[in-house]
Subunit: 459 residues, 4 copies
Amino acid sequence: MPQKGTKKAWAGRFAETANPLMEAFTSSLAFDKRLALYDIQGSIAHCRMLVKQKILTRGEGEKIVKGLEGVRRELEQQRFAFLPSDEDIHMAVERRLTEKIGSLGGKLHTARSRNDQVVLDVRLYLREEITNIVQLIVALQKQFARLAKRHGDVVMPGYTHLQRAQPVLLAHHFLAYYEMLSRDRERMQQCHARVNVLPLGAGALAGTTLPIDRHHVAKLLNFPSVSENSLDTVADRDFLIEFLSASAILSMHLSRLAEELVLWSSSEFGFIELPDAFATGSSMMPQKKNPDIPELVRGKTGRVYGHLMALLTILKGLPLSYNRDLQEDKEPLFDTVDTVKGVLAILDAMLPHIVFREDRLSEAALGGFTLATDVADYLTEKGMPFRKAHEVVGAVVRWCVAHQKRLEQLSVEEWRQFSSVFDHDLLPRLTLESAVDRRRSYGGTARVNVQRRLRSIGV
Amino acid sequence: MPQKGTKKAWAGRFAETANPLMEAFTSSLAFDKRLALYDIQGSIAHCRMLVKQKILTRGEGEKIVKGLEGVRRELEQQRFAFLPSDEDIHMAVERRLTEKIGSLGGKLHTARSRNDQVVLDVRLYLREEITNIVQLIVALQKQFARLAKRHGDVVMPGYTHLQRAQPVLLAHHFLAYYEMLSRDRERMQQCHARVNVLPLGAGALAGTTLPIDRHHVAKLLNFPSVSENSLDTVADRDFLIEFLSASAILSMHLSRLAEELVLWSSSEFGFIELPDAFATGSSMMPQKKNPDIPELVRGKTGRVYGHLMALLTILKGLPLSYNRDLQEDKEPLFDTVDTVKGVLAILDAMLPHIVFREDRLSEAALGGFTLATDVADYLTEKGMPFRKAHEVVGAVVRWCVAHQKRLEQLSVEEWRQFSSVFDHDLLPRLTLESAVDRRRSYGGTARVNVQRRLRSIGV
Amino acid sequence: MPQKGTKKAWAGRFAETANPLMEAFTSSLAFDKRLALYDIQGSIAHCRMLVKQKILTRGEGEKIVKGLEGVRRELEQQRFAFLPSDEDIHMAVERRLTEKIGSLGGKLHTARSRNDQVVLDVRLYLREEITNIVQLIVALQKQFARLAKRHGDVVMPGYTHLQRAQPVLLAHHFLAYYEMLSRDRERMQQCHARVNVLPLGAGALAGTTLPIDRHHVAKLLNFPSVSENSLDTVADRDFLIEFLSASAILSMHLSRLAEELVLWSSSEFGFIELPDAFATGSSMMPQKKNPDIPELVRGKTGRVYGHLMALLTILKGLPLSYNRDLQEDKEPLFDTVDTVKGVLAILDAMLPHIVFREDRLSEAALGGFTLATDVADYLTEKGMPFRKAHEVVGAVVRWCVAHQKRLEQLSVEEWRQFSSVFDHDLLPRLTLESAVDRRRSYGGTARVNVQRRLRSIGV
Amino acid sequence: MPQKGTKKAWAGRFAETANPLMEAFTSSLAFDKRLALYDIQGSIAHCRMLVKQKILTRGEGEKIVKGLEGVRRELEQQRFAFLPSDEDIHMAVERRLTEKIGSLGGKLHTARSRNDQVVLDVRLYLREEITNIVQLIVALQKQFARLAKRHGDVVMPGYTHLQRAQPVLLAHHFLAYYEMLSRDRERMQQCHARVNVLPLGAGALAGTTLPIDRHHVAKLLNFPSVSENSLDTVADRDFLIEFLSASAILSMHLSRLAEELVLWSSSEFGFIELPDAFATGSSMMPQKKNPDIPELVRGKTGRVYGHLMALLTILKGLPLSYNRDLQEDKEPLFDTVDTVKGVLAILDAMLPHIVFREDRLSEAALGGFTLATDVADYLTEKGMPFRKAHEVVGAVVRWCVAHQKRLEQLSVEEWRQFSSVFDHDLLPRLTLESAVDRRRSYGGTARVNVQRRLRSIGV
């Protein structure tokens, strides 16, 4: 059985060498190599602190840092040769360092463990990526604001239950996404603060006996704070789950936008035309122009939800502190980061090229008796209880459906057959402009509101 | 087919009455009745604003408010008779109001829709429950702090991979949970701020044409801010999902505690004795004393995760704005609130009655060669590269396993067979107290650290 | 602390009585009372077997069975008074039995444990409910088959990417759901076989020392087989998860139907008119007629997915055998059964009353250049490589878009400007009927296929 | 904006070339290249059928098949050069084919679409992988059976609530996993039957106008049946979700085994010794030997659950038929296949090398009053109602706990102080062998049962 395996960092205690199947099963190198540069960044800071604390001599420190910088260059220039026997990125870097500077390389691991080292790498990685994601969210918000400004007067049907309900400004619809994204951004930023905490120095689980200075490392790596409890530091991954939930909510929002783009580009809605450069065709049906991008955006929601569920499952019921199960945190994290960034970027690129067919939008806005509420409001203003007014207008609508008329087409006389409260002042109300602009309640769709909001967000 | 149904708020437009199957399928009364008092609270504020804005007369307003207060008393005294024909809590309240004050009751719904009304109710409910949950978290944190203080000197084995790793203070272990709960509390509080926004006035989706004053309602109901976009207000439920994720993370943390309590109360660990009053027996096996509470705490994690997944699924790919799918948000929410509160409360009640068997804990802390890292650190301090020191100590451990010895039992001579660096100053280090207290790095398990942390959190 | 609690089945070993908070937290009565009749059914069979095996005397057996039948009547007539001190349904029934027949009631629990008893109850319950669900699936399949028959000639646009792709028969579309439901039914039936296994006799975990006859109990309760391993029997819940996944897949299918009904009842599609009796209105917008049923069907998918995730989470990483976490299996199960049955029943009731607007369907079927593939196929038949044909037709479509023409409107001369292969025999092909009927490949949409399939399923 | 893109299969209809961002976002080549050989296998069968049906000439067919075989060789020898402009594996293969045999390559796509082609590839892939997984399950079952045979007489404590409950055979415990895996195998096999259906010929969604013979293709590719409905064929992925659920349940089972291996290899349990070749150490703590493999097995449950949730989410609420969201089905599928196979293989390799410490197991089996039920059974046999017997033994246990005695250590006189029913025939019962062997009820832990079961499964 036990074939020839490779010598491990922990070989001293073992009588047999590792089984190759086991090595392949437990290795994380295939995915954690993405953390390589963060690993080196953290190691350099750690080494500098060890020198400051006189745990290493200045000379040792200089050699190690120089060695690490050499390894970094190899990585950056893609000259770094990973070996199958490198268990993970930490061992790969240290192995290479030792090849370069000899057994002194072994001193770098003084006063730390892979348990705190890997959390450091992940936190360095994630805080940077959250910053990137926040920037992409802000960029997408700006697209919505710009679209709102550009299409400031276009009216569309507002929907509830996918039934036309009341006319709204297309700009108001865009700004709804702006607001959702504002909350997504906030969640990401608050998560960032919980990611941005130095874990290094927690050791394997209990801290270290060596006189390290964690606050110095924090300063070198620009962490505003230092973790308070070593067990907690190596055992928990709540900051990752929080990031995955914030990403899931963001994806949910974008899946709704995607759904709308798919609907709107259908023949039936016909509200938008996707740019050729952002659509695809069919290998079989020559006429097709498909909204693949929004479809994929919608579909990718699944993978983000799945990754959230994966990490929640992994952590459920694990005793403290570090358990190897936690190695499974990385792939869901990396794929979520890639997915979220990819989705935000492609929407940002595509949105400005979508053609909005304003005629179809306003035609639809008039359909479906969208002014019925305005008629009910009219009756209410004249003193009729709202429930009664609702009933009257319901009857008018039924009559119109049966007679294939639109509300705007009825004469005052026809109106008065349903209630004597109706009068000539009703008719001017029955336009899209009036319906939109009269909804001046704070947050309502009136042009004046939308313009105010655009000003307040600086567009 | 269409049997006799009941008259609906929207009957005007319909030729047929509702099918009873449909009524049963769509009714939300069975669960949204929990929102009754919040519904009335919101309606009273809405009514007062309508009076202030002269949309209702003072007299109308007084009658409506008085009527609502009557309905509230009936609810509080459980005299309120719900009817099967009440579609939801909003219609039930309005129906009863109208029975009490006549058709004037119908005026209450002026300038609002059930779409904004229900979000108001949910936000009023949830902001209160988050406050309750935060208090329960704080109470549980205090239990951990008190336990840490009470058992200040007890040493236990710290684990990684469920293998004994290094000795730690039991108090340090408790404080790890304190820190996790701090972040849970923070997440809940930040979520609270996003819940605490007035939605009323968004109308069905587009705002209202009536001259309402949303900021006045916000003031009456103590909302620090007012939602910015009417479509977003009725369409989104991200604040619920955020609450469910914060709850899922909290539950994950508590599932880990629960797992440890289950392990620790096993015969094999024997670290704790659960109080009889908080344990159960077996109907078949007379000797059993089972840790049912931690098991259920661990198991209930599943339902919270499930509810999160439910709501994420519900919202995925829904076009704006309100869709009836959103009605499905309430049961997962309510059950999560109940579950999280129940779990926090029972742990708070049980924790102080757990008996910690200090002898077993410290005996275990010495087992498993937990001082091996201290020996390696000793060698490192004497100048040996860490990797080499690790190897030497690994060999000592292997020898001890083969000869059934503990590290503390070796003589200096025996040590020196493995490396000449070992000397007499090694032996005093090989005690639990030394191992714990030497881990003075910030966040490490040394008593001085734990005491400092307890002071900083005010215990 | 420990206030006055109630005496438990396991009181002998305990010095303190149970804490009331603990009792409330661990009690399952609120939900497992649903199993009451199954519990009694199982107990009667168990008792009869004990008599047959002479573990009880005939006289004891008769008294116990008579007592249980009395309890059953109380339950059926809703005269059974549950007490807060009844921990669960098993204890409630036994408590009441003992009140009726005295301490002899205590003998019923001979040779069994609540661990095997509860799995028996759940299996009795679930096998019945799966049978009910299968019947509901079959009924819904019949609705689709009937609809397919009724609307046998109606053509609609088939979609890919929600873009009109090729004309298909509405009947073909219905039969797609028929096929999905066939697989759902199969999955349910195969799950049923794994549910339908007798667990009783596994005892608490290890079997029993008493000379019971499990095969006799199986015969009395109509179980075709008996579980093979006592530990597995009380520890696993895979049959529940399997049921939840089969339900999740079924719900997924129905969510797709629901989505289509929502789309089709929009003004934009206008393909169907929902019956008034199965639609709802708006409390604010008098004109609205909303597809609440399909929306709720779609939304309820979330709760089924959530319950699946809950149970997967609960079981993850639990050591053998029974753990109290498993008590959390029931609410997700019950709610899934209710949800799935409710959804199937309401769709079954609603589907036959939907009005299909055949004019809108066939008009749409012609839109969007749905015959373009037929033109490409025409070219292919004439010997042009498919990829080339595709390109030619793509150019025709682009030209038509620019000139606002439909394919059917082009003359042979116009066609020939794009390729000389086009000839007069093209024109008769450019009808919906031709397009549909020429798709005669097995499983294709041709009328002859659809009729054959309807015959093969007996409609 | 639209930079230089590449020419697509659907370029005819488009005025602009594809945006490179869009190409990168929508390309599936990075992952669907795994399907390459299945794609060619399917294409060859498709081509042969086209020849048989005279849609292609014999000469054309021969050239195409030869070309495809050339492409296959390039793939097998890893000489195939994928281009960034290859959208997916289908286009990559066809592009290469056309390079080899000229524009004739374009004829291969006659009478099919990528929509049915991709489902074919996935079904070919998955049916093979399910077969592999079933073999791995069977191999693991054999390991458990062999272990059960090898350790036939070893007694261990059976647990409920992780409390020692009753003695069981270690072999019985192994066979519990055997049974779970039997059901997993069944589920996989039944899923296989639903995967093993030919989709090709469904075309893009509606079938094809060309005179293809799907049953001939099915025969060539060894599919026992042909899909019934073209829309269903390209739109659904229920067979994938079913496979993911079967995998999730299997993973759940293995996570429980993994949890037990982690517990059992702890110092506290000490039931097993993991082979050095399948354990890892710590880079910091020289004494550690960690159960990384079971930990990772347990953790990987999360990713399988997550993938299931991902695919459920993706399909929720999608209208028929094909939507691009479905492209997201592949990565969860592939990763689940890899994970499940990896986990099964490593357990199969590791299990036979685990050392079971029989002394620790039987010592533990006697601890925790595991014979208490036997005493209660003894009293029951003497005619005492079970509930009363339970109470008596509970009191004995309490007395023993207080006096630090084991049940086996009490004299008859001491027993009689609790009940006069006790007599000398009690004492011989109080051994592990007696306790185990007396549990002879079908499925119970008695040696005779376990041996019978081993014979029935052929070990």
